[in-house]
Subunit: 506 residues, 2 copies
Amino acid sequence: MAKQVKTAVTPTRSEDYSEWYQQVVKASDMAEHSPVRGCMVIKPWGYSLWENIVKELDDLFKATGVKNAYFPLFIPLSFLEKEAEHVEGFAKECAVVTHHRLEKNEQGGLSPAGKLTEPLVVRPTSETIIGDSFAKWVSSYRDLPLLINQWANVVRWEMRTRIFLRTSEFLWQEGHTVHATDKEAVERTKLMLDVYAQLAEEYLAMPVIKGRKTKSERFPGAEDTLCIEAMMQDCKALQAGTSHFLGQNFAKASGIKFQNAQESEEFAWTTSWGASTRLIGGIIMIHGDDDGIILPPRVASSHIVLLPISPKEKDRTLVMEFTENLAKELRNTWYHNSRLRVEIDYRDTGGARGWDWIKKGIPVRVEIGPRDIADNSVFVGRRDKEHRDKKSYKRDEFISAIKDILDEIQQNLYNRAVSFRQAHMKSIDDKNAFYEYFTPENRETPEIHGGFAISHWCGSEECEAKIKEDLQVTIRCIPLDRIKENGKCICCGQSSQERVIYSKSY
Amino acid sequence: MAKQVKTAVTPTRSEDYSEWYQQVVKASDMAEHSPVRGCMVIKPWGYSLWENIVKELDDLFKATGVKNAYFPLFIPLSFLEKEAEHVEGFAKECAVVTHHRLEKNEQGGLSPAGKLTEPLVVRPTSETIIGDSFAKWVSSYRDLPLLINQWANVVRWEMRTRIFLRTSEFLWQEGHTVHATDKEAVERTKLMLDVYAQLAEEYLAMPVIKGRKTKSERFPGAEDTLCIEAMMQDCKALQAGTSHFLGQNFAKASGIKFQNAQESEEFAWTTSWGASTRLIGGIIMIHGDDDGIILPPRVASSHIVLLPISPKEKDRTLVMEFTENLAKELRNTWYHNSRLRVEIDYRDTGGARGWDWIKKGIPVRVEIGPRDIADNSVFVGRRDKEHRDKKSYKRDEFISAIKDILDEIQQNLYNRAVSFRQAHMKSIDDKNAFYEYFTPENRETPEIHGGFAISHWCGSEECEAKIKEDLQVTIRCIPLDRIKENGKCICCGQSSQERVIYSKSY
C-alpha cells in the first residue's frame, strides 16, 4: 500500500505522459485493445461514460431541431468517388468488403467467396451515402432545412492507433444538414460548433478554443472546417469536435436540388459535423492525475461509490442496511438531467478497494463504518482533493450537499484546466523564441511540448508546411474571436493581419 | 379526399398483405430501401420508435444487473471458425473485408488494395469476438456472473430482404453472459426471455407465446434456444426475440475458464440473447390497419400531434398561442418513464394533414380552431378509433385525461391482438384438417395463412421436415407452458406427449 499512497499509477505524467495514458486507461478498466488490429473493446466503465455523453449531446442537438436517423454501414465505391477531394482524403484508410460469403477451401479452412460486382467501403464518414437519400428527400424549399444526425460506428484504417484517440473503428455521431441558402448553412455550421463547445465546457469541464482550420487541415471536400481545440496536460492540442460547411460540393456530387420560392431549381447547401469516442481520451488526458482518471460529474460513469466497512461480523447487517438505504435515497435524487448514479462496493479488500475507485475517477467516495453510523454520519472523499482529505458529514447533511459537492468538483476540474492552459499559452513574435518553445531539450526547464503559441501567420501554405516539417507543429486553428492586428509571419517575416494557434497535437 | 376516407392505404390488408406492408411503411415515412443491396435507411419517424424501444429495453436489462459495453465490428475469420456449428450457420451470409485501402487502377477508377493477411468478417453476431474478451476478464468464480450487453449493427447477407423484417444490415442488441454453473446460465436464459416477453406485451402491445425451438431451428452453436413468437394479421408468426443457452460450447471455443471455490479450473457456461429492428416490422404488422400503422403509446415515436386550424388571417395569432401553450404544458407532463412527445403541424394542407398523421400512426390528434378556443376546448381524435369518431374536451380536462387516453389505446391494441390470435389459433388432431388449415385455396373462406395449429409432434426431425416441405409450415416453438398430454403426431401418427405450435412464419 505504501507505494500506492504515493502514486497509484506508474509512470507519472511527468515521467512519461504517453505511457501514463496507457496505464490510467488500464487501471480505470475503461477499455482495452482488441485482437482486431487497431480496434478497441470499450468496457462497461468506459461505455457508461460514453452513454452519458451521448445522452447530453443528443439532447443539445434535439433542442436545435435535429432528428436522428440511420443510414447503411456500407458505401458503394462509386458513391465515394463522386466527390474527388473526399475520396482522395479517405482512400488510403478504407476497409473494403469484396465478398459476401465464406466457402471451404482446399486446406479445409474457409475462404472469401461470392465476389461482389462492386466493392463496398465500410463508412469512414457518410456524406456520400446520406447525400443519396437527401437527394430523394429534398425537392422544394419547403423541405428545408433538413436537420439529421446519426449515431454510428465508422472505420478508418489508421496505421498508428491509440485507445480512444485514434482507433480503426470508433463510435461517433455525424450530423448532416441541408439548407436553401449559403448563409443559413454557414450559420448552422457555427451553431453546431457552439453546441460542441457547450458540451466540452459545461459537461466535460474541458475549456476549448473555437476556431477555423487552415485549408490544408480541412475535411476532405469541405469549403470551411470549424473546430474546438483543447489543451491536454502534456500541452498538446486535441481536436474535440469539427463542424464543416460543405458549400454545394456534396449537393452537386449527390444531386441534392430543390425548387426555390421563384420556382427555379438550385443545388442546396450542406453541412456536416461530428464528435466521437475520442472525447473520452480527451477527458482522461485533461483531468487525470498520477492516481488515475478523474471523471467530470456531469457525465461521470457513476457519481458516488458507497464503501461499507464492517470488520466485525456483528456489525455487518447494520452497516449493510444503512448503506442500502442511503443508496436508495441518493438514487432517487436528481442531479441536473438524470438521477444520481450510485455504486456499492461490497468487496472486502481493505484499502485496495478505495484505490480502485480513485483510479476509476469516481467523483465521490463514501465510507460507512459502525462508528459513522453511531454518529449518523458518513465519511466523504472527493476525487478533486487529496485522497486523505476526507470529511465527515451528518447523513442528511450529505444528501442535501451532494449536488453542490458534485457541481463544485465539476467547476474545480474546469478551473484547473483553464489555469493550466493559461500557463502554457503565450504570444510569440520572435522566430527563435518560437523554435525554442517547441524544442524542449534546448531549455533548462523543459515543458514536454511547449504549449500553444499564438503567433502571426502570413497565410501561405509554404510557411505552414515548413513549421510542420521543422517542429511537427501545426496550426491548430485560426481562433474565431481573433482581432485584426498587424504583425509579421513567425516563419517568413512577411506581413500578417492575424494570429493563429500553433501547437503539437494528437 | 373521398377515396382516402375509404382507406388511406392501397391495397388493403385483405387484398394483398405483403404489398400492404410495403405501402404502410412508405406512407408512414418510417424507412426506405437504400441503394446498398438489402440495407435500409431508417428515417426519423422510424428511428425515433427504435430509440424508444431501446430506452425501455435497456432499462429492463439494467434492472437485472446487465451492463453495456462495445466490441469490434470485425471478427477475424479464425475466430469465427472456432465453433464448428456456429461458422457453418453463418458462412453463407457473411460480408468479408479483404482489403484496407483503395488505389488508382488502369481505368482511372479505384480498386481495393492493401490485402489483409487474414480476412475480417463483419459481425453477424458477436459470440466469438466477445468470447475472446471474456476469456481475459474471467479467471475466478468471483468474477461471475458476467452480464454484458451490446447495442450494435450487424450484417447478414440475406438473399431475400424486406424492410425491418429481414435486412442485410440491422440494428440490435446482443446480450452475453457467463456463469459458474449450468443451472445459473439456464435461469439467465429464461430470465432474459421473460424480459423480451415483458417488452413485447407491456410496451409493444404485442401478445407473445414463450417457447423452445426444436433442434433444427436452434441458434448455430446453442444447446437450447428459447423464443417469443407473435401472430401477425396475416396469421403468420414473427419471432420477436431469442435467448440462447450455449452450454460450454462457446466457453470451450474461446477458452473462458475460471477457478471454482474448490480451486480447480472449469469451463464456464454462457448465454446470449438478442432482439432487433425487426420488432418495428412486428409492430407495424400486428397493429396496422388499412389507414396505415398504429403506434403503441408506450414506445410511440410521438404521442400527440397538435393541428392548429386558422382559415382566417385574423385568428392566426390566437390559434398559434393557444397551440404553443398547450404543447408546452403537455411536454412537461410525464407519461410513464418519459415526458409526453408532442408534435405541432403548422402546414396549411387541409384534410391531407390529418391523414398524414393517421398514416404515421400517432396515437392522438388534436384539432384546435377558433371555435374550440372560444369554448376553451380541443377536438380529439384517437388512432384506435374511427377517424371521424372525435371528441371535444375542455382544455384542462384533456390534459388531465391524456395519460388515461394513451393507456386505453395501449390496452385496446393489446386486446385486439389477443382476440385476433385467439380467433386464429386452434388445436388440430386430424392430419387432413391440418393440411386443409394451411392450404387456404381449398377452403371457401380462406384465411391467408391458416393460423397457429396446436398439434402433436412425435419429436422426430423427419416429421418436422416433411411438414415444412409439404406446407412451408414450421414448428415455431414448443410452448413453455405446455402440459403433458398423450396424443398422436400430426404427421406420422406415432405417439406423442406434447403439442407444439405449427405455423407459417416470417
